[in-house]
């Protein structure tokens, strides 16, 4: 009986090793405009994709312009469980800082920031 249980455990472990990786807290997986990128045309929206689902009520995104002044964006949208986005006004050339703060669906909070640059014409 012990040997049979051991064998079952081994087979189950081997099958379960095919599990995808997860991280427990929501980290930024992808951003559009991309982190540190230079874009030719001003983006119409800022979209952030996280490693897990987030609670949009407790999450926020802020954008500051090259002089450090906060840019007025559209309301926070939550098109997918792990994606948030805001619409952007016409951005002038320069370097912008995105500061994000999110709460994952298991209520863990993470934050971060990155920059992107809008190229002058």
């Amino acid at each position: 009986m012990t040997a049979r249980l051991g064998l079952t455990a081994l087979v189950a472990a081997l099958l379960l090793l095919r599990a995808p990786p997860v991280r427990g807290h929501a980290f930024l997986e992808h951003a559009e405009p991309r982190v540190g990128s230079t874009v030719g045309a001003p983006p119409s929206a800022l979209t952030l994709t996280f490693t897990e689902g987030i609670e949009s009520t407790f999450s926020k995104v802020e954008l500051t312009d090259p002089s450090g002044k906060r840019v007025e964006t559209g309301p926070l949208e939550h098109p997918q469980s792990n994606v948030i986005s805001v619409s952007l006004p016409g951005l002038t050339p320069g370097s912008y800082t995105v500061s994000w703060s999110v709460v994952s669906v298991d209520t863990h909070a993470t934050d971060g920031h990155f920059t992107f640059t809008v190229k002058g014409s």
Binding site: L5, A12, R23, E29, V35, T57, K60, S104, T107
Partner: protein, 273 residues
């Protein structure tokens, strides 16, 4: 605030294991002793305090990160996935207590189902049904093992050989689920070996595995030496078994504390966006 989360998480996990494990043991092992029964319902009482405290602490954290406060904060938190599961879990606890005179198999099944809510609420549940179900299997097996050991230690002496033998089977079956589900969880959360040593999560996981290995050794000693010795009628076998069981319970409490710590630590972040 993290220390408070760890302390509450440990209290929650320990009480959950004692309650659900005790109910499973009542169905599979033996009816609990009077002190064993009291312990189960004291665990339920501890959970009745821990759950609101966890809600309050989580609300404070949400206020800190969002600036939302007052009634809106409570309503918003209750509308989150975590908040809805918190309500169902609390109602489930109340239902278990209200139904305490139901038959042992029915209560054990209800307790097993109730454990799933905890898995859905935590790290694993944030990533979908499969990780949550595997986490639930891990939790249920841990409850059956540790909860069973606690109930065994609280039985009146002498412990019947048949009950010790049933606990041996229950522990072996629990291990057959616990180990693969734990391996799954470890690979799910730390998907590269180098991340094990370079992060607080990985180091805590190593510590948990070290203590869990001690549990495995103690379990193996019970399985291969003490219970067979009881069957042969050796005079000191019962005392040796119960000493090992008490030690397993202490080591199990340390494993649960490390598990609570893992519940608040960020998992290793392998790469950036």
């Amino acid at each position: 605030m993290n220390a408070a989360f760890v302390a509450l998480g440990w209290a929650d996990l320990t009480a959950t294991i004692l309650l659900a494990g005790g109910l499973v043991a009542a169905a599979l092992l033996a009816p609990p002793s009077e002190s064993g029964r009291r312990l189960q319902w004291r665990a339920a009482g501890a959970l009745a305090l821990a759950l609101p405290a966890e809600f309050a602490l989580t609300a404070l954290r949400m206020r800190e990160v969002s600036g939302i406060h007052g009634a809106a904060l409570v309503v918003d938190l209750l509308e989150t996935r975590w908040g809805r599961l918190w309500v169902v879990r609390s109602v489930g606890l109340a239902a278990l207590v209200a139904g305490r005179r139901l038959s042992a198999p029915l209560l054990a099944a209800a307790a097993a189902g109730w454990l799933l809510l905890r898995s859905l609420q935590g790290h694993a549940g944030a990533h979908g049904v499969q990780p949550a179900v595997i986490d639930w299997m891990h939790l249920l097996a841990a409850a059956a093992w540790l909860g069973g050991l606690v109930q065994l230690a609280m039985l009146p002496r002498p412990v019947p050989v048949a009950i010790a033998a049933r606990m041996r089977v229950q522990a072996t079956a629990a291990l057959a689920v616990l180990v693969p589900a734990g391996v799954y969880g470890a690979f799910l959360h730390v998907h590269r070996v180098d991340l094990l040593t370079g992060s607080p999560y990985g180091e805590t996981l190593i510590a948990k595995l070290a203590f869990a290995s001690v549990l495995l050794v103690l379990g193996a000693v019970n399985h291969f030496r003490h219970v067979p010795a009881m069957r042969r009628g050796e005079p000191r076998a019962e005392a040796r078994l119960l000493r090992a069981v008490r030690l397993e319970v202490v080591v199990g409490a340390v494993v649960l504390a490390l598990t609570a710590l893992l519940g608040v630590l960020p998992m290793p972040h392998g790469h950036g966006p």
